[in-house]
């Protein structure tokens, strides 16, 4: 473990303290990079349904079966994973880093993405080669409205969770209006919302 520079930083990371007072069988032996790759590739290959479904699978494999980290640490990783990007991938990176530092994190991320990357590439190739086939056209005509239905469901479910008061409702409405009626770029809307949210946080901290 001496290859991990954070061992000399104090205070000690949680996992070192943990090693003293509990005996996790797998912590005694270094997990190999090959095992990290293999584990996350398997998760990537079987993780259907996106988001939380994949996270539940990661939790079962890494926390319950392999006992690579404790449940609480897993939840911290998950919380941080919601800052940027897909949190299923972020959770994998976090666990990989926890086991074997930066190399472990990168290997876990690559292992997790690789199966779906190869599958999507294959399907993309098939799609762009054969999408003029009438049968495929007919089938895809059936899937298009369903995909829009899925987006509507996501918007409703997210909205019920995130819109708690008048101000969050107004932000959602403003973002909606900005893209639908004023045709603003979604990226600018996001940046504006981030600036607004950060500003409100700083303001609240100063005055209260």
């Amino acid at each position: 473990m001496e290859s991990q520079p954070q061992a000399i930083i104090s205070p000690l990371p949680i996992r070192w303290q943990r090693c003293y007072n509990c005996s996790m069988p797998n912590r005694e032996k270094k997990v190999t990079l090959a095992e990290i790759f293999q584990t996350f590739a398997k998760i990537g290959l079987t993780g259907f349904g996106g988001g939380m479904a994949i996270v539940a699978l990661i939790e079962r494999v890494c926390v319950q079966e392999k006992q690579w980290l404790g449940g609480e640490e897993f939840l911290h990783g998950l919380a941080f994973g919601q800052i940027l990007g897909p949190f299923s991938l972020n959770t994998c990176t976090f666990i990989g880093h926890h086991l074997r530092g930066i190399r472990g994190g990168i290997i876990a991320a690559v292992g997790f993405i690789l199966p779906s990357f190869l599958l999507v590439s294959l399907l993309s190739w098939l799609y762009f080669t054969y999408h003029k086939l009438p049968q495929l056209q007919a089938a895809l005509k059936g899937t298009n409205p369903v995909v829009i239905g899925l987006i509507v469901v996501v918007a409703i479910d997210m909205g019920r969770k995130q819109i708690k008061d008048v101000s969050s409702g107004l932000i959602a409405l403003a973002a909606f209006a900005a893209t639908v009626f004023f045709k603003l770029n979604a990226a600018w809307v996001l940046l504006a919302a981030a600036a607004w949210s950060l500003g409100m946080n700083i303001y609240r901290r100063r005055c209260c």
Partner: protein
């Protein structure tokens, strides 16, 4: 074909503002790929969404599909690597400074305040995509059926989409 460098830069920037989970990519990629650069038609974009639901892994694999369209296999590879680069680097930094960061709630609060905007954007994407791709009563019936399946049953999205494809094939 677009230069891989341009692709890398575009996807890297998307990766930097990729907040609130995979669904925010729908408005972002739709705007850039369909409306701005016109690398895909709206139909192809929606088909790509269906494909990325059929495969395992995060919805963000939509980036691979759109990248594939603009630059072949290498385009898909570059798109995938660069869209995920910012979040992987961020997670590695967080992993290193884990104990010190644990008590900082500023990031979390800012993120919480941002999420309602993501809701608005996803709703807007449903609106925009629906307005320009739905035609006829049949489409609305399929949409309603799909909506009901996703909302009130626990059937996996993959099966719903496969079922919809089959329905499309049979109804044609």
């Amino acid at each position: 074909m677009v230069s891989l460098l341009t692709l890398a830069w575009i996807y890297f920037r998307i990766g930097l503002i990729f907040v609130g989970g995979g669904y925010v990519l729908i408005p972002l990629l739709n705007h850039i790929m369909v409306e701005q650069y016109r690398w895909l038609t709206l139909r192809q974009f929606l088909d790509g969404l269906a494909l990325s639901q059929l495969t395992p892994g995060p919805l963000a694999m939509l980036a691979t599909f759109t990248g594939f369209r603009s630059g072949g296999f290498l385009g898909g590879l570059v798109a995938t690597v660069f869209i995920f680069m910012p979040c992987v680097v961020l997670m590695l930094i967080i992993g290193r400074n884990y104990t010190r960061l644990k008590n900082i709630d500023m990031i979390r609060n800012t993120l919480d305040g941002l999420l309602p905007a993501v809701v608005g954007l996803v709703a807007a994407a449903a609106c925009n995509l629906g307005a320009s791709s739905l035609a006829g009563v049949r489409d609305y019936i399929i949409l309603a059926a799909g909506f009901a399946m996703f909302k009130w049953t626990r059937v996996s999205p993959m099966l719903v989409i496969l079922g919809a494809g089959l329905a499309g094939l049979l109804l044609d």
